[in-house]
Amino acid sequence: MSPLIKIENLSKSFGGVRALSSVNFEVLPGEVHALVGENGAGKSTLIKILMGVYHKDIGSIVIDGNEQEIRNPSKAKEIGLAAVYQDVMLARHLSVGENFFMGSLPLKGGLVDWNLVFKRADEFLAGLEIAVDSRHLVSELTIARQQLVAIAKVVWQGARLIIFDEPTALLTTAETDMLFEIIRRLSREGKSIVYISHRMEEIFSICDRVTVLKDGRYVATLPITETDKDQLVSLMVGRNLEEAFPSRHCRAAETILEVRHLSSARHFADISFSVSRGEIFGIYGLVGAGRTQLMHALFGADRYDSGEILLNGRPVRPRSPMNMIKRGFGLVCEDRKQQSLALPLDVRTNLNLVHRPQSTRFGFLRPEVEWETTSRFIRALNIKASSPYQKVSNLSGGNQQKVVIGKWLSIEPQILLFDEPTIGVDVGARLEIYNLLQKLVDGGKTILMISSYLPEVIAIADRILVMREGKSMGIIDHQDATEEKLLRMASGLEKSASASSEQATV
């Protein structure tokens, strides 16, 4: 059988950073093909090239025997490539039928022929055995049904290759089964499926073949029957490190923060750990493991239901971010643009966004203190801005992140929480951030760091808490941590001894 799509020697760089180099990938008609790799392996870049969001540097994309240039998203749609994302791309306040016919509603006598819209949409959904009434608004459906509708919509639009990017992250087991049923049906009808997931069991239950990417390179393509979870994990990790991480040295010190049996109904359950002063404590896990919610709960930004938090041995109840900032906490969020930066405002304002007692007098700002802070951090963090008046929305990801870090350092926090400290940050700035973290702990500060990037969390953290679906899988010491071990724990293939003993005491 000739492949529907065949990609050869595909390469893509972003400003000198290789995201993909010489990647090969093919999908047969009717095949369900898994694409696996760690964060940063190049999966999203590959998908975005196929969707026409990015344009390849070199390499060829052959579809049905014809070489294609996918210059823009509408070209991708034209050749029948479609992606279904976690956050469903439907107009939520319109009916399912309207979503199908968007832009081409059938008319009768100059008015929309609603009967025809819903009749044809219902027929189409029935053909895929999706039990949804097309008269319903999308927002009335569950997330899982919305996803099914989104799938139906891309099939309706003529998709021949459908890419699923972590489709089950928000679904229950029953809903996942429903999704798999549809995927199998589509494959029987000859549609090709690319399935991206961190969840090994799903890959083995639904996929025919699997392609492994690592650090932007092609590793292998294997029939699913000829491999197992252990082999895939070992193919995904074990890299040659191109990045230099600063060397770590940690001194044992008194416990500053202790978390006991912290639970939040929907996000995490029974999390316990303690962190010493001057430590970098890593939190690793896959998408949806509840790490961000845990960190936000510690910061007072999200609620938790039960459990105890002790700061310097005394119980605290985080009520609000303001409350925790006063206790010496700072939080660098994962979503920089939505949660950390005042985008329309300038560098100076952002660096001084968090209140410090010394920066105001009787409620009046003290410009000399603000300027001192501004110039100190622009210089110390090497923030590349045209002037302190430059809007932060115009800075690069790395410089934006430095502004966020500077904003928190200005208040001299005791405990800094980092959620994915180097997300969207280029390699050069990344190294600066690693060095900065090291300097901060050398100066007696304590750091909690969420990271999905294995080499980073292993190289930087003194100890690592591994989370999976809201539960603790154990805490690993720096010297025992390997990429393979962490990934196996996060995938539920292994549990550390400490995790089981902790659970036994509950």
Binding site: F299, Q338, R379
Partner: protein, 330 residues
Amino acid sequence: MATAPLTKPESVRRQSRGSVLQRYGTEVTLASILIVLCIFLSFTSPVFLTSGNLSNLVKQSAINGIIALGMTVVIITGGIDLSVGSVVGLAGMIVGMLMTSGTPPLVAAIIAVIACFVVGVGNGIMIHEGGIAPFIATLGSMTMVRGLVQLLTNARTISGLPEAFLRFGNADYFGVPSQFWVWAILAVILTIMLNRTRFGRNVYAIGSSPEVARLSGISLRANLYFAYGISGLMAGIAGVVLTARVRMAAPTAGSTYELYAIAAAVIGGASLSGAQGTIMGSVLGALIMTTIASGGNLLGIDAFTLQIAIGALIVLAVWIDRIRKGRMAS
């Protein structure tokens, strides 16, 4: 890292001096438009430059201008306050009723203005605690307050106000009408507030993203209450000043003023998506609107044509500002 040697702030300030024109671009543009307008009118109309006309122009601008000050603060938070017109009426009613029943003018004015502040804080409570969109919350309070005023006055105009109070409405200080001084002093106070206080910083932060502000330890509650409170306060002061000028408190006083205040703030560079706008901009916006209206009057252009022109001006001003800022960003 955090203890790196201090650098002189001057070095940072010096390198950015060239951007001053950029930062105050909106105000500079508006001031130029106003000056050109005035020059044009002084040549085309013999009456324009007379002190009588100018004083009239300032009196007309001041009421709208004072309301626009508070409106600007609210708009910078990313909100809007439609209740200000009704609050103008409320202030007039309170001050009128109190004075006709013997309360000294100053005491009556203070009570009226405090009541209006409370109405504003009420808007803040609905918006923050209830999570009601500012447009809807203040639409509701606009209607409620107007109804209250009609109810308590039996829809009758209050006149026969004490002479001491009315004198203020016609007073000139240093040759400039009293209304202007009120406006100018409030504008200076609010400019300092927005640029030099923690509250002002928080207002801009909330306008750029309430979530970022919250996670940076900024109290949305306190700052939103106060921002809407200021808007009510300004409308209240405008209501008292208006009552003194027109010598009576009509139950319909201030109707549709909210729209003029929004227009003045927006012409002055405030963005309804928040985090943008200045007090100076709103002052210039109010002056330009009145100058066009009264200038057109002097030139014998009929009122309806002028209305069309002012409507077009609102759209045009925002459009030009957008183009200018878009070019600056690229």
